[in-house]
Amino acid sequence: MAIFVDKNTRVVVQGITGRDGGFHSREMLAYGTKLVAGCTPGRGGQKFEDKVPVFDTVREAVLNEGANTSVIFVPPAGAAGAIMEAADAGCKLVVCITEGVPTIDMVRVMPYLKERGVRLVGPNCPGLLAPGIAKLGILPASIVKEGPVGLVSRSGTLTYEVVYQLTAAGLGQTTCLGIGGDPIIGTNFLDAIEAFNADPATEAFVMIGEIGGDAEEKAAAYIKAHVRKPVVSFIAGQTAPPGKRMGHAGAIVSGGTGTAAEKKKALNEAGIPVAERPMDIVPHLKSIWKR
């Protein structure tokens, strides 16, 4: 079991004929993901890697191949449009890897998705990897392992770092989910935590936050009220100066809010251990998790 994906997940990759889209599509196929179609306007009729049919539109991929999930690698100028196309075509899960999508485009996209009951992961995220089920995005398959731990993070490589440590410690994962570091994202901590809490296979989970916004605080309140599974957290950006964007568009302390200290405080008050160093996450988890 996993969150958001299962054995019926049938993926169309938008931008499959691009450099990144092509590379990661091969990786997804290699992992055994049901990547049933690609989409690039003007490339309809071609085959990707001699087997995956490419269509001009997502609608054709849905109608002809039963795609129900899209993974998007199109450039920023077309990313919001690609998300809307996937939603309109009937995909119920859309994972947008693209970095650098203008924020106002995402503002416009969100109600469109809500009206259609579509879950978006990202943009500007590594996607998700449910070991043994499906890889949707760019998380490296080599570092994951099937198991009972859920992981959700706003970061990319910091996620890999933590997954690596979990796997090394023998703690496999139900789903590793990177929700992205932009200010406006489709799936936030709360959504992921609700899903992990409801997923019977997930016995414990890890939440990797960072400065900016108050998604971690909201998650903490939810966990305190609703979650009985062991949770460990980590917050990146303690030393970030205020008013400076730390890479991710959403990683910024502004007006004195969104600081790592506030987030740690909220998490601690909710009874969630916050690791001081990435290497402390696994020991923390082991200490509170009575398997």
């Binding site: 203008p102 490296p140 993070s153 910091l158 770092e161 890479g247 568009a249 959403g250 990683a251």
Partner: protein
């Protein structure tokens, strides 16, 4: 990207907001000429990319040409929070009967553009938010409909109860500001204050606009608005090299792939008693040129005593990354010690390559950070 007040007001004026006339002067003589053109009294306002100009003495009311001369010569060249004033805005001084705040930003919670307004205009809005949050009205704008007439008017009437003429002017200003915000791909747009003169006419007499960096590709004209002189030279170079970089005050130069890992690395330096010299995300590539650019930027800072690479090889293989770093250090000989931590796919191969160099390999983040701090101490 932030722009100056006078530039923000140009955008406002293009969208029909009531902006008083004004021009910038780089010299006292120009300022005096402008004062003559607009007629006294005028305001002489420092144009720097930071707040608190008024408190710092960077905004002055001038009744006479002597006032203009005196204030312009004081303000030009002044240092405000590390920003040197190179230009002043000269604009007619208006009689203020009442002041309001109208601003918009991207709100994560509502996932919309959030309109904020307040009758506590002219003050630092963050201070108002902390001391008197109930004085700020908030309205998330539905992108599907924009800021509707009744929504804007309701807010206007809350700020000017019983004065529908002023309320309508505020409402119109909000709608025009929203149009400007969307058209400009702003991340922040503020009028502070929006004032009424005693005749009941509204004016946007100060303003601030920041652009969404992700949307710069849609606005070729924005590069011309960038005040390159006001930028930190290293941050400018990083921007031009497409690197996410923030300068800090320490001595451990950090090169990390991924923003979250880069922050975690800085935090860990601090945890072990060191001081990071920067935030730098070199991204997912193993391109040696990008590494060279990053090293150049970091090494301009003479405080840097050690370089710390922290790379998680996910999709990119560690041996490729190692080769990239080795080639980069060959292209650009470096005097400070370099610690390299490589983890992930093919990490053993990567470390084997590094072993043949004078680079200091490390297996874990913790080991790398501790080693870097130690080497920084030795170099000092």
């Amino acid at each position: 990207m932030n722009i100056h007040e006078y530039q923000a007001k140009e955008i406002f004026a293009r969208h029909g907001l009531p902006v008083p006339p004004g021009s910038v002067a780089a010299t006292v003589g120009e300022a005096v000429a402008l004062a003559g053109k607009y007629g006294l009294p005028v305001m002489v306002k420092s144009q720097v990319l930071t707040g608190g100009r008024g408190k710092a003495g960077g905004v002055k009311f001038c009744k006479t040409i002597d006032d203009v001369k005196e204030n312009a010569s004081k303000i030009l060249g002044m240092d405000i929070k590390g920003h040197v004033v190179r230009k002043v805005l000269v604009t007619p001084a208006l009689d203020i009967a009442s002041e309001f705040y109208v601003g918009m930003l991207i709100d994560r919670a509502s996932q919309r553009v959030l309109l904020m307004c307040s009758a506590e205009g002219g003050m630092d809005i963050e201070q108002v938010a902390q001391e008197k949050p109930e004085a700020i009205l908030k309205h998330p704008i539905d992108p599907r409909y924009g800021l509707l007439d009744h929504e804007a008017l309701e807010l206007g009437l809350k700020m000017c109860p019983g004065d529908v003429k002023k309320a309508r002017q505020l409402a119109t200003a909000m709608q025009k500001l929203y149009a400007a915000f969307v058209a400009a791909d702003a991340s922040l747009a503020e009028i502070n204050p929006f004032i009424f003169t005693p005749d009941g006419i509204g004016h946007a007499i100060d303003g601030k606009v920041s652009f969404d960096d992700n949307a710069m590709y849609r606005h070729a004209d924005y590069e011309a608005l960038r005040d390159i002189e006001a930028e930190d030279p290293a941050e400018r170079q990083a921007r031009e090299a497409n690197l996410s970089f923030v300068k800090l005050e320490g001595n451990v130069g950090c090169l990390v792939n991924g923003a979250g890992l880069a922050m975690a690395t800085m935090d860990l330096v601090k945890y072990y008693g060191g001081q990071p010299a920067n935030f730098l995300d070199i991204g997912g590539s193993s391109n040696p040129e990008k590494v060279v650019n990053a090293l150049k930027i970091i090494l301009q800072d003479k405080a840097v005593k050690v370089i710390l690479f922290n790379i998680f090889g996910g999709i990119t293989r560690c041996d490729d990354v190692a080769n990239g770093i080795i080639r980069a250090t060959e292209m650009m000989p470096i005097e400070v010690p370099i610690v390299v931590r490589l983890t992930g796919t093919n990490e053993a191969e990567g470390r084997a390559l590094l072993a043949k160099t004078k680079l200091h390999p490390a297996e874990t983040m913790d080991e790398a950070v501790q080693k870097a701090i130690e080497l920084a101490g030795k170099g000092a």
